[in-house]
Symmetry: C2
Subunit: 285 residues, 2 copies
Amino acid sequence: MSLNFDRVAIIGVGLLGSSLGLAMKARGLARHVVGVGHRQSSLDTALQVGAVDEATLSLSDAVTGADLIIIATPAGLVAPKLDQIRRLCAPDTIVTDVASTKRTICAHAHATWTAPRRFIGSHPMAGSDKYGPEHGHPDFYEGAVCLVEDSEGLEHRAREIVCALWAAVGARVLDVDPAQHDTMLARTSHIPHVVSAALASLAVRGGDVRFMIGNAFRDMTRIAASRPELWRDICLTNREAVLEGLREFQRDLEELTRELEAGNAPALDDFFRQGAEARRKAVES
Amino acid sequence: MSLNFDRVAIIGVGLLGSSLGLAMKARGLARHVVGVGHRQSSLDTALQVGAVDEATLSLSDAVTGADLIIIATPAGLVAPKLDQIRRLCAPDTIVTDVASTKRTICAHAHATWTAPRRFIGSHPMAGSDKYGPEHGHPDFYEGAVCLVEDSEGLEHRAREIVCALWAAVGARVLDVDPAQHDTMLARTSHIPHVVSAALASLAVRGGDVRFMIGNAFRDMTRIAASRPELWRDICLTNREAVLEGLREFQRDLEELTRELEAGNAPALDDFFRQGAEARRKAVES
């Protein structure tokens, strides 16, 4: 499929939005890209780095006449933005997002958007502890997996175009059911972020640990440096799955605690052996 | 201080023991290095890679006549090895170890070893998810921090020599009180390992997550691939501090769970903000 959008509106010109603008322009996928945000300084930077051709604080100016709209805000703002743009965009405008949670967002779109739906949820699994348009990169999505909503009631051609867009910027596209997406991502991403923040806090409450940290601590707390508001939103828009996984995680730690209290060496062996096998199964296979 | 050991015995020729043998030989610190272990295949490999000049299954053969003994076994075996070698080594033999926990080990040495003590506990903070003598490297300790026991009743010169040894193989030596070491390392290393294993297990119980993992999951579960028996021993030899830290960690997660159940956005913001600040404080300062 050859993609050639006439006017693309990117709502939110942070790392993901700006990188998508740069990626589309570098690949000749869009004639004109307009960025919209609520901070003039970010819009200025997005213009300077060439992520957008035009920048505005006005959502209606940005989306009017767009044939493609990307909502690249924190997860908690996607549904409100959908409500705001619903009546502004033309009937054939295709809309997608980049949020890390899908169930709440896609359910909201399903309930409020015209059928067959031209909003197709996306979750490109690319990220960084850096943020802001100044870190945008045209190859940001190269090699990443992009999970694209596969639900009832989507407009077939809109979905094809969204998939083609992600493929065109270098991502490997996989179909997901929004609810299953959120259940699994709670375990592979959202809970790990919660745990990373909790580990960092635990360590510094122990005193001046600066000379007591090794690579393990560095690796495990890297994502604790992410933007708080993003992860607040991710937890709130995937509350049920995060809570369910956290409770299971807590039960596992409680069991491990009991075995350690009892000095049960074989049980500790099993615990760490299972962890090592799980890691291999998840990552290396 | 110029170091020139005549006969060095390394008990345990895994990654850390073999690397120390290679490092000492590469820097001309030892005339003859003998490795002792319980698996002939590891001893053969240690010989092949040049980590030791001689290899034996007999502990008494290895340590007899040694002026320096390095105990490079898992943490749980250090105290038993100390008991075994106490009557075998000459009065002026200097002994150290490389275990990740210090309180139990140093307390055992204090209770059983002749005063002033010539066993000085060490913890070189270098590691890898690889193991075995085949991965040994002469520069393995370059740039690492090595925490060296600073307790009452140590022989001054023996301690100086152990510190000089670690400095000579490239480590930055810092003094630590064994109990304080264990309290802090529980939070910066031991609990992170427990949590990493639990996260890996949680993820794979959620289904086939292979395409749902990103860098965050990879970073946070890397150390789950470590050797189970090492981490079993570390937990058991630092049981009190690990349990204390784990309970505090679980209370933090319980609080976060309650706030998430209540949909308390500002509390989630604070939680992630504290984590980000803690990460900066621990790692970047």
